[in-house]
């Protein structure tokens, strides 16, 4: 399968890339890892006139923590880099849980986290993770840089709020205000399939008290769903079987699953409940090395 004809540019500076997008007038697409865009172009669901390949841009393949704990992930950081990251394993339990569950090992060598956020697939795992962590996307355009909260970044299925001449150059996860814990669980029929259901939970605790919580759902609605009421039910008190059950109920209520070949709506809603409960009953913790096994903890159904 061939994509439609397109013009291809691989600029060596960000300014040049933005200029190309600007001149492209909405008919241009940014190519980073290409693991979603190239298949879409082959199926002719996307037929951009111009492809701006950003793989030659310098200084975008990084992920690093600032002194205060803010995590920054560059636009060319591959899923595999995050999967094998000691930094994530030590400080970001929800992200470390999700990284090995993105697509399959070979796709993870090319695909990028920032690209996945931009693609805005309702079944994309990273969007839920970044949403649960209260993260944001840094966009750069002709007028400069702006920060867009993840909660506003996705405007619909496969739609984000970037201007046509803006490039998402970085994802930012804010510094924790306490001890970080959480997890990501994904039900998939086989490795590399889209999520039947995915649940991201990120909490911060101070002593026994949950000081911040985020819960987000993958694959059970027209876009990634922030379960804000579930998160609120966890905040301001210690984690108890009662608070966990309440959060699981609220998360399941906000899910909008549809019956399809991956399962019935009832089943998917039930799995949201189960996953919220399961993550919170036995969360991964920042700083606990053994908590992030290399082989992942994905739920895989036959």
């Amino acid at each position: 399968m061939y994509p439609s004809r397109f013009r291809y540019e691989a600029p060596h500076s960000l300014g040049e890339a933005i200029q190309l997008l600007h001149d492209g007038g909405g008919e241009a697409k940014v190519l980073a890892g290409g693991q979603s865009l190239v298949p879409l172009m082959k199926l002719r669901f996307a037929s951009p006139e111009l492809v701006v390949d950003i793989n030659n841009l310098p200084g975008l393949a990084y992920h690093r923590a600032e002194a205060d704990g803010t995590l920054r992930i560059g636009a060319l950081t591959r899923h595999a880099d995050l999967e094998h990251s000691e930094l994530l394993r030590g400080t970001q339990p929800t992200m470390a849980a999700a990284a090995p569950l993105i697509a399959d090992p070979i796709v993870r060598n090319r695909g990028t986290l920032v690209g996945s956020l931009c693609h805005a697939d309702p079944q994309g795992d990273w969007a839920s993770v970044v949403l649960a962590l209260g993260g944001s996307v840094i966009a750069q355009g002709p007028a400069g840089r702006r920060s867009i909260p993840m909660s506003e970044f996705v405007t619909g299925p496969f739609e984000n709020m970037l201007e046509t001449d803006e490039i998402a150059i970085e994802a930012v996860i804010p510094a924790p205000r306490g001890h970080r814990a959480g997890g990501y669980l994904k039900l998939e029929r086989r490795v590399g399939d889209f999520a039947t259901v995915g649940v991201a939970v990120a909490i911060e605790t101070s002593g026994e008290m949950v000081t911040r919580a985020g819960v987000a759902l993958t694959g059970v609605g027209g876009s990634t769903i922030a379960a804000t009421e579930a998160a609120a039910a966890l905040t301001g008190q210690p984690l108890t079987p009662e608070s966990i059950a309440a959060a699981a109920d609220l998360a399941a209520q906000v899910a909008r699953p549809r019956t399809d070949h991956r399962g019935s709506a009832e089943y998917k809603r039930h799995m949201v409940h189960t996953f919220v409960e399961r993550i919170l009953t036995n969360p991964r913790h920042a700083g606990a090395n053994g908590s992030t096994a290399h082989t992942g903890t994905g739920e895989r159904a036959a």
Partner: protein, 176 residues
Amino acid sequence: MTLVYDDRGDEAADVFPVRRIKFTINGQKKIAEVEPRLLLSHLIRQGVGLTGTHMGCDTTNCGACTVLVDGRAVKSCTMLAVQVDGRQIETVEGLAGASELHPLQEGFREEHGLQCGFCTPGMMMAAKALLAANPDPTEEEVRWGLSGNLCRCTGYQNIVKSVLWAAEKLRAQAGE
């Protein structure tokens, strides 16, 4: 290598220019002129003429088209040929030496790691990258590392054994 494109006139050539790229494949330097929409898998098979890289699903699922680009395993149906400008490609044809099979190929023979053989080139290339990163993997790590490659014949048991066999031989060779 030769790839032939439709001549749509000079105007079209200005809008969608063919691009000249240089790359290395299995140690051999190549120059190609490609349409940007040409996939890496097509460059390898129809351009260079190395048909060991198989096209299975053409939808990023099966991994039969797996090759190494600068040492990293990629699905060559999901990368544009223009993107390998200046890069090193390894395909299954690059595994064997002049007179000797690569330990991975030996392993697949010894442990009966293939039946129809269609997925085998992709399996071997994914395994090569896996063993380069982790020379002494557990069975679980091999299974996990090959989870982007589908096989419809073997049930995977013998593929995993083959890769473990190769890992052992490669470690023995490295220790010599």
